[in-house]
């Protein structure tokens, strides 16, 4: 039983204790009693967070992360469900691989879902067996890491996915021919640093194109990690026209700009890249008005050695699971860009809806599955890379002081994080 917290969910805010039995919430109210009491005083009790976009690296790059360590990091970040991206080795274009990932994930500290590849090998030419993957429970299809450059292939994928109930085709929007050879945002800073750039146009053109394809085919299109003001504006217009498009943004795209790359430290290297202040403002505005439906971390662990190369030679990507909530609270809620319920919508029930996860993000009431995130919005902590649960250390926030920390995470009624420590 969670005592003394402030319950916040899609229906509103209220004080109260939450009583859990088995994997269900049985009662929410005041003065409840339970066999085992967890202190939630001073905390917010929210539905478990859902991350639509994580790289768990297993199979193929286990030195950076495994399903087990990644899920643990997720749980410590308050996430009760994550969607694992398909760019593993071998990739999620084969039911055997996806089956293995889901099996591993069944024992993990959070619910692990798998996204399926759109094309074979994520090469962008032939469709992957989306039907077989769908049968295993896959609902989100993406070649993430790679963009489906050929409009013809994207159209075919959207048309085919229309026959798979609840399927969503998610795009890593960066036209390869425009972005090729680039390692950071093309703009003032790439020019100062002499690093080839990836122009915002690479993102904007694909988003524009895929909105049109969504209109053409009627299939749901989800845009991964939007970073460009132009792209966000397209999505806003598309939604205004009633098109079936959704979008997500990563915390690094509303907290960091391309100026961070001035140190040449590849901790700040990511695709799509950190962009300028106007783009950061657009991401915040997009999250505020709902153009961007979800905050998704794009958690991308890399071995330390890989990030110790020169900027242009290092792989892109940053950790995100353990810092997302605090960054959202600090950079969006505290300055008033979002109120807390909206922030939680973007972190929990918003992404849950896109992924079709009914057990997550649901209102905290009797009968709902007990997937909960209990966090102290005032707890201060410093990001120490070596202290992170992730196997990797590549966070751009090393040394940063944050406010907001998860105290307990409840997964199907079981505390997987207790007083800030993982139990599994």
């Amino acid at each position: 039983m969670l005592r003394g917290g402030r319950v916040v969910d899609a229906t509103g805010e209220r004080g109260g204790d939450v009583l859990v039995e088995g994997d269900r919430i049985v009662e929410v109210g005041d003065g409840l009693r339970g066999d085992r009491e967890l202190d939630a005083g001073g905390c917010v009790v929210a539905p478990g967070l859902v991350d639509l976009h994580v790289h768990l690296r297993e199979p193929g790059m286990e030195e950076a992360e495994t399903i087990e360590t990644g899920a643990r990091a997720a749980a410590l970040g308050g996430f009760t469900a994550v969607v694992a991206m398909p760019n593993t080795t071998p990739p999620h274009d084969d039911p055997a691989v996806v089956g293995a990932v889901l099996a591993k994930g069944a024992r993990a500290s959070c619910e692990v879902h798998a996204a399926g590849a759109i094309t074979k090998g994520r090469e962008g030419t032939e469709l992957a067996p989306m039907g077989e993957l769908h049968a295993l429970g896959v609902r989100i299809f993406t070649d993430d890491g790679a963009c489906v450059d050929a409009a013809g292939v994207m159209r075919a994928a959207l048309e085919y996915a229309a026959s798979l109930p609840d399927a969503v085709v998610a795009q890593h929007a960066e036209d390869s021919t425009l972005a090729a050879g680039g390692h950071m945002h093309e703009g003032e800073w790439s020019s100062r640093l002499g690093i080839p750039g990836r122009p915002a146009a690479a993102e904007d053109t694909i988003v524009a194109r895929d909105c049109i394809l969504a209109a053409l085919t009627g299939t749901r299109v989800h845009f991964l990690h939007l970073s460009s003001a132009g792209a966000i504006e397209q999505v806003r217009a598309a939604k205004a026209r009633g098109l079936p498009v959704t979008a997500e943004a990563a915390p690094h795209h509303f907290t960091l700009t391309d100026e961070s790359c001035a140190s040449f430290d590849p901790a700040f290297k990511v695709h799509p890249p950190l962009r300028g202040p106007a783009d950061v403002a657009a991401v915040k505005a997009g999250l505020a008005d709902g153009t961007i439906d979800a905050i998704a971390t794009d958690h991308a662990p890399h071995p330390t050695e890989a990030k110790e190369r020169p900027f242009e030679e290092a792989p892109p990507g940053m950790l995100g699971l353990e810092t997302a909530l605090a960054l959202t609270l600090e950079e969006l809620v505290e300055p008033g860009v979002l109120d807390l319920p909206t922030a939680l919508a973007r972190l929990s029930w918003g992404p849950a809806a896109i992924a079709g996860l009914v057990d997550h993000g649901a209102p905290i009431a009797a009968g709902s599955t007990a997937n909960l995130c209990v966090f102290d919005p005032d707890a201060r902590w410093t990001v120490v890379p070596d202290a992170l649960a992730s196997r990797a250390r590549n966070t751009p926030y090393a040394g940063r002081e944050l406010r907001g920390r998860v105290r307990h995470t409840i997964l199907r009624g079981e505390p997987v994080v207790l007083d800030g420590c993982a139990t599994r």
């Binding site: 003032e188 002499g194 040449f264 110790e308 020169p310 900027f311």
Partner: protein
Amino acid sequence: MKHLLSIDDLGREGVDELCELAESFLEVTQRDIPKVPALRGKTVACVFYEDSTRTRLSFETAAKRLSADTMSFSVGSSSVAKGESLRDTVQTIEAMGIDAMVVRHRAAGAPNRVAGWIEASVVNAGDGRHEHPTQALLDTFTLRRHRGPSLDGARIAIVGDIRHSRVARSSTKAFAALGAKVTLVAPPTMLPESLAGWPAAVSCDLDAVLPEVDVVYLLRIQHERQDATLFPSLREYTTRFGLTVERAARLRDDVLVMHAGPMNRGVEIDPEVAEAPRSVITEQVANGVAVRMAVLYSLLGSGAPVA
């Protein structure tokens, strides 16, 4: 001054002081015994991930003329164990006991990262498209010897593949720091995407710019880039942007012609123009050793120009 990674590290004062210092070293290089014991006992390691015999020899010579010991590592494929990270490599080299490391790398910012990993002083000998500060210094030194210590008001045109040129960036900063007015001349595909950090004007019309300049600085057009769709053909480049005999004839007599080398004779510069008296190209090379001696001396001899 601990490292020389960028012309930004120096500012006008720093550039001036290094050029002054280089005068003394130029005199040393012209003696029968061109050597001074100033850096005796110091070790300078050249770690070149990108091949460049000329620059490496220039640094080695500079170090030797200062009586320092030198080590050279050309990291192509063999000398570095496969998969050995840049960090491991430079830390291993440092463990052999070095005072300064001269780093050339095809990736921008590599020397900056190296500076964070080792105790020794780091000199950037060219990093990707970012900077090549010692080249800019020797260019500036050469110009000063012709025009006097201040470049105030000097009009300099830099012509060529600016966007991909670290020499262009460093030299633009150095010339502008001394008061020159720099104009970058290139087809649009070879101009920087943004002028942030480039204290210069731009033009796509060489013929319009030439009558108004005091110095023409040519960049090498790299054959290797032909497939990068930057310009249709070498012939078209030469026609529009090459310093042909005919264009050179239109320059005032006192206009200097410079080139960062190595030259593509017949592409960006006509061979005849390269040999003409107004061309100071061979001087640039000779001055390179003196300038690099000044840099090494400043870093290791504790003759710090500007902090």
